[in-house]
């Protein structure tokens, strides 16, 4: 190894590292976490790489029995054997990635309606104040201005999983709106009581993670709120980049990783920088 110059734990935490550590602390031992394989730049970082790093870090710290479900079918994939993040869900690379179990058909190993999945990660083009998410269209669904991909697994993520982390790779007014144009994943309309009236007794969005902040929810009242901002600069301009009213005064900054967490993340979880990029360089988000 000619890496004597390499000092993995040097350097301030990147945003991606801070988010990964924050997420990792929120997972419990024995949980099952589900993430898709999202491709392309910031979307891949927020949708797949950060969740994978967070779950692997939790396994290394306090949750050795946590199960990572990659793309819903590869159980505990050997992430350290990767030299580059796969960019196709169902090709030979992932088929051959060593793991504990694979799902070869549906229904498969996990019973989605029995609550086997404790938490998941999803994304959308819009999130609204009630925590609804949208990946179907912009504008009138009957004649949309922009047709997007469809609801995919969002309805299941937001009701059948124990809790959901909505990972938003961009923070702009058009992404954070008063009311989404199409509800493909349901939040807390009318609060927890509203969810109960809809027949939903399980799950829902827990956090919304963005490049500027982490939102959580006043679940009783069904309203999104700031949990933390990533920096003082984010505190200053977050309202201008958010399409609904928020108050950032008095909101704490997202807690920094401890040296131990950062060291574990850099030297053990992501030693090659496949997930979160090379150390010391802030990933473009």
């Amino acid at each position: 190894m000619s890496e004597s110059h390499h000092t993995p734990s040097a350097g301030a935490p990147t945003l991606a590292e801070t988010i990964a550590v924050t997420l990792a602390r929120s997972f419990s031992d024995g949980e099952v976490g589900f993430t898709g394989l999202v491709t392309g730049g910031a979307a891949a970082l927020f949708g797949t790489s950060i969740p994978l790093a967070a779950m692997a870090l939790a396994q290394a710290m306090h949750a050795p029995n946590l199960t990572i479900l990659l793309a819903g079918w590869s159980h505990n994939p050997d992430l350290q054997s990767l030299s580059v993040m796969p960019d196709s869900e169902f090709d030979a690379v992932l088929r051959d990635l060593p793991c504990d179990a694979q799902m070869m058909t549906y229904p498969g190993p996990w019973s989605i309606r029995r609550g086997d999945i404790d938490f998941g990660f999803s994304s959308g083009v819009q999130v609204d104040v009630a925590g609804n998410i949208n990946s179907v269209c912009i504008g009138d669904p009957a004649r949309p201005k922009v047709r997007l991909v469809g609801p995919i697994l969002q309805p299941e993520h937001m009701t059948l999983f124990g809790r959901e982390y909505v990972m938003m790779p961009h923070h702009a007014r058009r992404n954070f709106v008063e009311r989404v144009d199409y509800v493909s994943g349901v939040g807390y309309p009318g609060g927890l009581e509203g969810r109960r009236r809809l027949g939903l007794h399980h799950g829902g969005p827990e956090w919304v993670v963005t490049p500027k902040c982490i939102f959580d929810f006043d679940k009783e009242n069904g309203r999104i709120r700031l949990k933390s901002v990533h920096s003082e600069a984010d505190r200053q301009d977050i309202a201008a980049h958010t399409g609904f009213d928020i108050d950032s005064a008095g909101v704490p900054q997202t807690a920094a990783p401890t040296p131990e967490e950062l060291d574990l993340l850099r030297r053990h979880v992501d030693a090659k920088g496949v997930l979160l990029g090379r150390h010391g360089s802030r990933p473009a988000v």
Binding site: F90, A92, R95, M104, Y106, V149, G150, P151, I152
Partner: protein, 299 residues
């Protein structure tokens, strides 16, 4: 001894089983393993008013949408994964030329399970508050007779015809799946089990003796198949697991061409209308390109 019946036919035979207005399920998933030779032949034959009922759809729906073959799409996703949104589907929907009925992904699988079980609906309890429910009059609310809970009755997929692409089958129509396969191949099987008119294109038609040596890999037995067509590279430009990879360059060209209706029309001319059949299409792609896509599954 009376010989058994051969199910072997041509792509033209497949197209004749899929008339205008057919409610069609197309095997494969997103940008993986679609029966593209048949999809191109449907366009060449000028099919109209098709309804595609799917699970996770991709370039097969995009191509049919751009070519004007579709009336309606029922699925959970239409996109090109790492190649972005489905450009022709998107244009057609935004211009009001295609009706889309959005289903959640797991329910889109369950709709085929309902067809397999010949159920008139699949029960669901998690659609409250979504536009998936609010905008779909085919999903009905009912009261569970056991618990009294309010539930949603989701209509089965009920395709009139299923067409899918597999690695191999024998002349009788016993279809082999690779031993090590993934969810898309598993979903093809569910699709096939819920339909009486199943068309399977295969990379190769193999002797029955080979099938009998690998009987544990036959998930679609002969009595389920109506027609078997040998179509080597029949999923191109999508991948066939264990045989060949996605044609990345072709997908990039496709997306670039699809930026405008004119560009897409030129693509259609070059790859769908000009080649008279699948063999001519493969000649147009070229042996050198196809050779680079070969995947060595096992040694």
């Amino acid at each position: 001894m009376t010989p058994s019946t051969s199910k072997v036919g041509s792509i033209a035979d497949a197209v004749s089983l899929i008339p205008d207005g057919t409610r069609l399920a197309i095997g494969g998933f997103a940008i993986y393993q679609h029966p593209m030779a048949v999809v191109r032949a449907l366009i060449r034959a000028g099919r109209r008013d098709l309804t595609v009922v799917g699970t996770v759809s991709g370039n097969e729906v995009d191509l049919l949408a751009g070519a004007g073959c579709l009336k309606r799409v029922e699925t959970s996703y239409v996109g090109l994964e790492k190649y972005g949104l489905a450009p022709n589907f998107r244009r057609a929907v935004e211009e009001g030329r295609i009706e889309v009925v959005d289903y959640p992904e797991v329910l889109s699988f369950d709709r085929f399970r309902a067809s397999q079980e010949n159920l008139t609906f699949w029960p669901c309890d998690y659609l409250g508050g979504t536009d998936v429910l609010a905008r779909n009059p085919d999903i009905r609310i009912f009261t569970c007779p056991i618990t009294g809970r309010s539930l949603q009755a989701v209509p089965p997929a009920d395709p009139e015809v299923v067409v899918l692409h597999a690695i191999a089958a024998d002349e009788r129509g016993n279809v082999i799946l690779p031993r090590r396969h993934l969810l898309p191949q598993g979903l093809d099987v569910i699709m096939a089990r819920g339909c009486d008119t199943v068309i399977v294109t295969v990379e190769k038609i193999v002797p029955r003796a080979l099938v009998r040596r690998h009987a544990e890999q036959v998930q679609i037995p002969a009595y389920k198949t109506k027609l078997v067509v040998e179509a080597p590279w029949g999923a191109h430009p999508t991948a066939v697991l264990g045989r060949y990879a996605t044609d990345d360059a072709h997908f990039r060209d496709y997306v670039a061409a699809s930026a405008s209706p004119e560009g897409f029309a030129a693509y259609l001319d070059r790859y769908v209308h000009a080649p008279a059949d699948h063999a001519a299409y493969l000649e147009r792609i070229g042996a050198e390109r196809l050779g680079t896509l070969t995947e060595l599954d096992t040694l």
